[in-house]
Symmetry: C2
Subunit: 346 residues, 2 copies
């Protein structure tokens, strides 16, 4: 092996993406935005721009069929792509789904997978318009591409946050991460003693958050109803801290959030303590919540101030090098991205 070999783990996923994006061709007039947002933006001649997002899920990396039902895997594969379109303030209308299957899967298993895909399509009003089916030597591979649209003046990029904007996040955070911890623990218990029944009832909300996340298309719809266009937006897939740093970097601004404003469900809080984890760390770095993180102009605050599921967690300031959280004790804690790093885990 060459001594010049560089491991992918040295770059990390974001480093790898930067390397790829740096060399990507982007010359067609129709290409409005490419790599670096939740979805690409393409001008197709109408008042709406087309949004294009894609995600690939691999067995053993993104899901474990020991506890993830195929129906949920199918649902999630569509939902996470619909979430990417929502994060641009758009509406997904079509998806393509490609699957690679080993011969360990029966037709009935494929039916289960597609039942989940169909349930997600029905729920989000998205059509399944294409895909590819192939055999795989190893487990299940699912690659989904979602196509959506948004009026060209109402697209929310990661780069639009401005000084004094209010930072908002929907729902609650950290639950999906703790749901995964619960599932992993029960799997180990089961492997040690196959007669043990998994004790999941108590954690139903957390497990649901990790196995069957929902895209917050409801928020996109409600914001439009209230006439609010986020100045910037991203979905929380890698963890709140990581997403905040994306907004900071791409908008060239600083972020200041308050620990006591970060929404954490009671069950998430208690379960974190049970696992001897810090609840706020789970919320900041857990990931896979698929909530929407966005910024609004202060003048729009009044319009959504009373929304029960939108939380105002901080504000945008000028210094892009100051991305911090004010703890409950009043200390200033720098935000650092941990997020998911599949590559370094290996």
């Amino acid at each position: 092996m060459s001594s010049n070999r560089m491991e992918i783990s040295e770059l990390g996923e974001f480093g790898l993406i930067d390397r790829i994006a740096g060399n990507a061709r982007r010359e067609n007039a129709s290409t409005i935005a490419g790599i670096g947002d939740d979805a690409a933006v393409v001008d197709c001649g109408g008042n709406d721009h087309v949004l294009l997002a894609t995600d690939m899920l691999l067995e053993g990396i993104h899901f474990d069929l020991a506890y993830a039902p195929l129906r949920h895997v199918g649902y999630k594969a569509v939902a996470v792509n619909v979430s990417d379109i929502a994060a641009m303030n758009g509406k997904a209308e079509q998806v393509t789904v490609s699957i690679g299957l080993s011969n360990r899967f029966s037709v009935e298993a494929v039916d289960e997978l597609y039942a989940g895909i169909k349930a997600a399509c029905d729920n989000y009003g998205v059509d399944l318009v294409g895909g590819d089916t192939t055999s795989s030597r190893v487990g299940l591979v699912i690659s989904v591409t979602a196509m959506g649209r948004a009026h060209k003046d109402k697209i929310a990029y990661r780069s639009g946050a401005r000084k004094s904007d209010i930072i908002c996040v929907t729902g609650d955070l950290g639950a999906a991460y703790l749901g995964l911890q619960v599932l992993e623990r029960e799997k180990q218990v089961f492997l040690a003693n196959p007669n043990m029944q998994p004790a999941l009832d108590k954690y139903e909300y957390l497990v649901g958050r990790t196995l069957k996340p929902e895209a917050r298309t409801d928020i996109v719809f409600e914001m439009a109803e209230k006439g609010v266009v986020p100045t910037s937006m991203i979905d929380v897939s890698d963890g709140l801290a990581s997403e905040l740093l994306h907004l900071s970097k791409q908008s060239g601004v600083g972020i200041r959030i308050f620990e006591d404003k970060v929404p954490i469900d009671n069950l998430t809080y208690d379960t974190a303590l049970e696992f001897k984890l810090d609840p706020i760390t789970c919320a900041l770095n857990g990931g896979e919540d698929y909530e929407l993180l966005f910024t609004i102009s202060p003048s729009d605050h009044e319009k959504i101030r009373l929304h029960p599921d939108i939380h105002f967690i901080g504000y945008v300031h000028e210094d892009k090098n100051q991305n911090v959280m004010i703890s409950k004790q009043g200390t200033v804690v720098p935000l650092t991205a941990q997020g998911w790093s599949h590559f370094s885990r290996q």
Copy 2:
């Protein structure tokens, strides 16, 4: 295992696709065409419709890194998707590329892969606008989605062939299949005796056809220049016979082709005989040539009659149950689809 288990090989890839397509949601007004053509067609409000195609390539199924350089794998992954857009009479303008990589791959290997992707993007005038990178437990997975456009009145579907239309195919057929046979043979020779050098020079054309196929975007451009809109079109990925049967089924017409009109390169012909294969069988069932198969109205024949790379191989008739080839001896041979069947091979 349940006695009700149905194996995917019992359905086959096309059976599986029919099963999936039968249940696919297709309700949005913007969805013009979904599963069942080379690309989905979406109305985005302009004079052009958007075309969306996707293909997934898996190591060990679609390519073997023992002989396929990563650069070629990247090139091919883009080219086959651009070919799907061309097969709708459209022009691809954007692609997304998702990759799953095991830690056996170095950053330099990823650079090679993306050098091929970039070469294809440059060659076809396509922008790389997004994707996903993830680790894989096993080998390389590449999923590409191409987005293109075509004027809404000039899209060529599989369903438009009509009685008396002339059947046309570009380039030559069977070469990619024989290139693969050559590579497999040399791999076995190498495995038996690692000191043997592969003898590929003589087969360069065939090997190039299988490792680095080209999308026939040139034909789409030239047909537009001459004012010809194919009545139906498909690209030759699974083999000429299989594609002809798709046109027959979806257009509700019969196909009659002539063996002596099917274009086969001399090297393909000679190499088929060397492998004790029937050259016409390789052309009919080999697949992966990525030539364009299309039908034109007889009134358009004069416009492209002298094109050096378009071959007129037969005609369309009324009876959809009569899909035949007239052999050189004048016998009538029914066309049957063999194509690639990754599932049944396992």
